[in-house]
């Protein structure tokens, strides 16, 4: 059994890796094609408000520095060649190698995204359980209504609202940034960082919370209607015990799957949340790169998020299979 299992797992892993590479190539080609055909003039976007003070000679210099005089396919192949050697190119916007920019900014985003992800997962699952268990009652109606409200509220709007209430009116939270204003890096405490993290994280968690609530609720209702629950009830199981022993596992499967596949939306949401709170993460860098038409950085970010989302989905599949053995069986059958 064991000796058979290992090569199968390896084969599965290799298969996934192959798919990831194909996906990356497709994303790279598509993103590059989009940017090359964009009507926005790269140099004009870089120059911005300085158009009147830079002469044509200077623009020629900039184009030369960026290699814009080569045909598009040559530029793409050159970029791809560098990429294979591990060189992601140079971001003109940040005057830094692309990998350094992504590394720096992602580190800032990581705390934000992780906290928001946990918040939306834990809160969403808990509320979904509660709503499902209390189906039709006032608790259920309030939670469902709240979930629908969140699902239809745009992230940036929620962010502005929170900013206005908690930072401007109540003065409880800072208005911007990931660190306190004017404090040297060495004096910034973990508490400071958390203090600056709360509002953006809550805003960002809004993106993921509603689907988890609603799906969990549905799964709970279905599980509660199942034969095994009827049997358990007949044996006298009630209340939280019943939910914990007979329902949680069934309800967890869709929630976990959703949670892991929501990484893409989480990143999309971080673009807006970071903008609202001047939080210096990858999302804010994406906005800047897009406004400045920083092609190497945008491509780098596209590839990076592809890997992120792909990994999230792969983990989601594995965890799902772990929680729900039927899914693993179905997977195995399909791959045969």
């Amino acid at each position: 059994m064991l000796t058979e299992g290992v090569p199968a797992a390896l084969r599965g892993f290799a298969g996934r890796l192959g798919r990831l590479v194909l996906l990356l190539v497709a994303v790279a080609v598509a993103s590059f094609a989009l940017m090359v055909n964009s009507p926005v003039d790269l140099v004009a976007a870089y120059v911005g408000a300085d158009v009147a003070s830079l002469g044509p000679e200077q623009r020629a210099l900039i184009e030369e520095r960026w290699g814009l005089n080569d045909p598009a396919h040559e530029r793409f192949l050159a970029w791809l060649g560098n990429l294979v050697r591990g060189d992601f190119g140079f971001s003109a916007t940040f005057n830094q190698p692309v990998l350094e920019v992504i590394g720096d900014k992602f580190l800032a985003s990581l705390a934000l995204m992780a906290l928001a992800w946990l918040l939306s997962g834990v809160l969403g699952f808990g509320l979904g359980l509660l709503a499902g268990a209390r189906q039709g009652r006032a608790t259920d109606r309030v939670i469902t209504w709240w979930a629908y409200t969140l699902a239809s509220a745009p992230t940036f709007w929620v962010g502005l609202l929170l900013l206005y209430v908690f930072a401007v009116s109540l003065n409880w939270a800072p208005v911007c940034c990931a660190v306190p204003i004017g404090v040297p890096a060495a004096d910034v405490t973990l508490l400071d960082r958390l203090h600056h993290l709360v509002l953006p994280a809550v805003t960002l968690s809004v993106v993921g919370i509603a689907p988890v609530v609603l799906h969990t609720r549905q799964a709970v209702i279905e599980a509660l209607a199942g034969d095994h629950v009827a049997f358990a009830r007949a044996q006298g199981e009630r209340g939280f015990g019943l939910i914990r022993h007979r329902v949680v596992r069934n309800a967890a499967a869709p929630a976990l799957l959703l949670q892991f596949s929501s990484l893409g939306e989480l990143f999309g949401g971080s673009v807006l949340a970071e903008q609202v709170f001047s939080y210096p993460g990858l999302g804010a860098a994406t906005t800047t790169a897009a406004l400045n038409q920083d092609v190497p950085l945008l491509l780098g970010i596209a590839l990076f998020t592809t890997v992120l989302v792909f990994t999230g989905n792969a983990i989601g599949d594995r965890v799902h299979a772990g929680v729900d053995p039927r899914a693993a069986l179905a997977d195995a059958r399909r791959s045969r």
């Binding site: 003039d41 009147a52 003070s53 911007c176 660190v179 004017g182 203090h195 001047s278």
Partner: protein, 544 residues
């Protein structure tokens, strides 16, 4: 009570009672700590006032602080110092230089350098560093244009020669804006760890958030009154919030937010040459196109009578009051308030009757009674394009259309993206914003040689006398002589002559400044970014 009891029972059933209490305690503790940190930051603000200054005036340089790539291109690079600088009246004065002269042919600029200046790493500033800076900037392909430089050479221990490819009086602006970098410490990492001879040194840069700078105690010029200055990079809403909660001492806010009450802060509306104006297609519509196939010319605005009439009929003060909420001035030319501005070219007041007479005399008459004049079967109508995402430009464009209706000129204001505007700006009127401390901009907007290049002279304006005056201004070796030529050009293209543009307004840049902070005399600020208000930051003082 009953309800509470029932809940307690249920919580008890699911074994949560104890844990819930613990969580409540933890949450309370966290809230208390949060409040404590909030208090401590509040204390820091008031306690540190004498030595620390916090500014929310935007303008982060994402690519870092390397002048050879464009940092400080609006002047006053903070970490570095420049050869020359501009005073409150924008007159040029010495900084690192002790004097300069231009050869009679305008090709060689000889600059004497002071010998007491040192970089923040303790090494002296030498002519070699100056030459290195100019040579590097000329080829770096960044955001500062030094392409006219052929070569910079250090000729002795305190003199540098800047040799140009052609005479250019406006090269003096590079001496004003290009911060000198040390040759020995300049490389790929420089932009994030700048070493210079300016009044401040970089202490910490949290990218996307804030820049903390420390006073350079070895600076050769006036000592700033502040040990540290913090630049906070917040957007408008966050800046407003930060100003309101007392976290910043200066906040730049758009004029739309300038009417808000701000306790403890004073509104400074600083005059600028950040202007908005309309460029007209100057050529007749003959079906001519440029190399990219974009149409050139318009049958209505190519008539000088129409352009002059428009300039007369627009009530600029009404635009300032209505669209800018009073935070601006009427504009009459591209360089209002700058040393090379000729006030005699200004339109004074609004005169729709004179405008109507001009149109009558030129043969534009409303014969069919539809409220719009026509001539030889051509209706006096044109499209005015503006940047759709800019509500201020939209307001101006719509107001102008309203003001021209009474004189029988029909204007269709239309919002578009820059990409669309660029393909149509030679055949449609466009609302632009310009304004620079460098007369090169005026040259680019009005010289026929710049017609259709980039965004310059989009209407293909061309007048031999203007060209001659602008060329003479460029070639002048003496600032006074150059100024005379710049003024002459304005008399030819101004609203009473060719009326190539209809300038509308100059915006005021609005800042909220702590009422206890004296920011000295303000310069007329240019269009664009950067930190124009900080030009004299070394002289800022607390007054209470």
């Amino acid at each position: 009570m009953l309800v509470a009891k029932r809940w307690q029972q249920r919580l008890g059933v699911i074994g949560l009672r104890v844990r819930t209490r613990r969580w409540v305690a933890v949450a309370l503790a966290a809230a208390a700590l949060g409040a404590a940190t909030a208090c401590s930051t509040g204390d820091a603000v008031s306690g540190a006032k004498p030595t620390e200054l916090r500014l929310a005036i935007g303008g982060e340089a994402e690519d870092g602080y390397d002048p050879t790539l464009g940092w400080g291109r609006y002047g006053n690079p903070l970490f570095q110092s420049t050869l020359l600088t501009r005073d409150a009246d924008l007159k040029i004065t010495n900084d690192l230089a002790t004097g300069y002269s231009v050869s009679p042919d305008g090709l060689v600029w000889t600059v004497d350098i002071r010998s007491d200046a040192t970089f923040s790493d303790g090494k002296p500033v030498t002519p070699g560093d100056v030459a290195y800076t100019f040579n590097t900037a000329a080829t770096s392909g960044g955001l500062t244009d030094v392409t006219v430089l052929d070569q910079a050479v250090a000729v002795d221990e305190d003199t540098v020669e800047l040799r140009l490819r052609e005479p250019r009086s406006t090269f003096v602006n590079r001496l004003v804006s290009l911060g000198i970098v040390p040759e020995h410490a300049h490389g790929p990492g420089y932009a994030r760890d700048p070493v210079g001879s300016g009044p401040f040194v970089l202490e910490q840069w949290d990218e996307g958030q804030q820049l903390i700078v420390r006073r350079n105690d070895d600076y050769y010029g006036g000592k700033p009154a502040f040990e540290r200055v913090v630049f906070v990079f917040t957007d408008e809403d966050a800046s407003l919030a930060a100003a309101r909660s007392g976290q910043v001492d200066v906040a730049a806010l758009p004029s739309a937010l300038a009417s808000t009450e701000m306790p403890g802060m004073t509104l400074h509306a600083i005059e600028s040459v950040d202007n908005r104006g309309i460029t007209f297609p100057y050529q007749p519509a003959t079906g001519r196109t440029n190399a990219d196939g974009e149409p050139i010319g318009d049958p209505v605005t190519s008539d000088v009578a129409v352009r002059r009439a428009i300039n007369l009929a627009i009530d600029r003060q009404a635009l300032v009051d209505g669209v800018l909420d009073g935070h601006g001035r009427p504009a009459t030319g591209p360089v209002d308030g700058l040393p090379w501005y000729d006030p005699s070219t200004a339109v004074t007041g609004t005169d729709p009757d004179a405008a109507a007479r001009l149109l009558d005399e030129a043969g534009w008459r409303d014969t069919d009674g539809d409220g719009v004049r026509e001539r030889d079967g051509v209706r006096a109508e044109f499209t005015l394009l503006y940047l759709a995402s800019d509500s201020l430009r939209q307001g101006l464009a719509l107001a102008v259309a309203d003001m021209l209706k009474p004189i029988g000129v029909a204007v269709t204001a239309k919002g578009e993206s820059w990409e669309v505007i660029e393909t149509r700006m030679h055949a449609d009127a466009v609302l632009f914003g310009w304004g620079s401390h460098d007369p090169t901009e005026m040259y680019n907007l009005y010289h026929s040689g710049q017609a259709g290049i980039e965004l310059y002279n989009p209407g293909y304006y061309g007048d031999p006398e203007v060209d001659a005056a602008l060329d003479a201004g460029m070639a002048a070796t003496d600032p006074a002589e150059a100024t005379a030529h710049w003024k002459e050009a304005q008399r030819h293209f101004g609203p009473a002559a060719d009326a190539a543009w209809a300038w509308l307004v100059n915006l005021d840049h609005t800042y909220f400044v702590d009422s206890c902070l004296d920011v000295g005399q303000e310069q007329v600020e240019p269009h664009g970014h950067g930190w124009p208000i900080t030009w004299n930051i070394t002289g800022w003082r607390w007054t209470c």
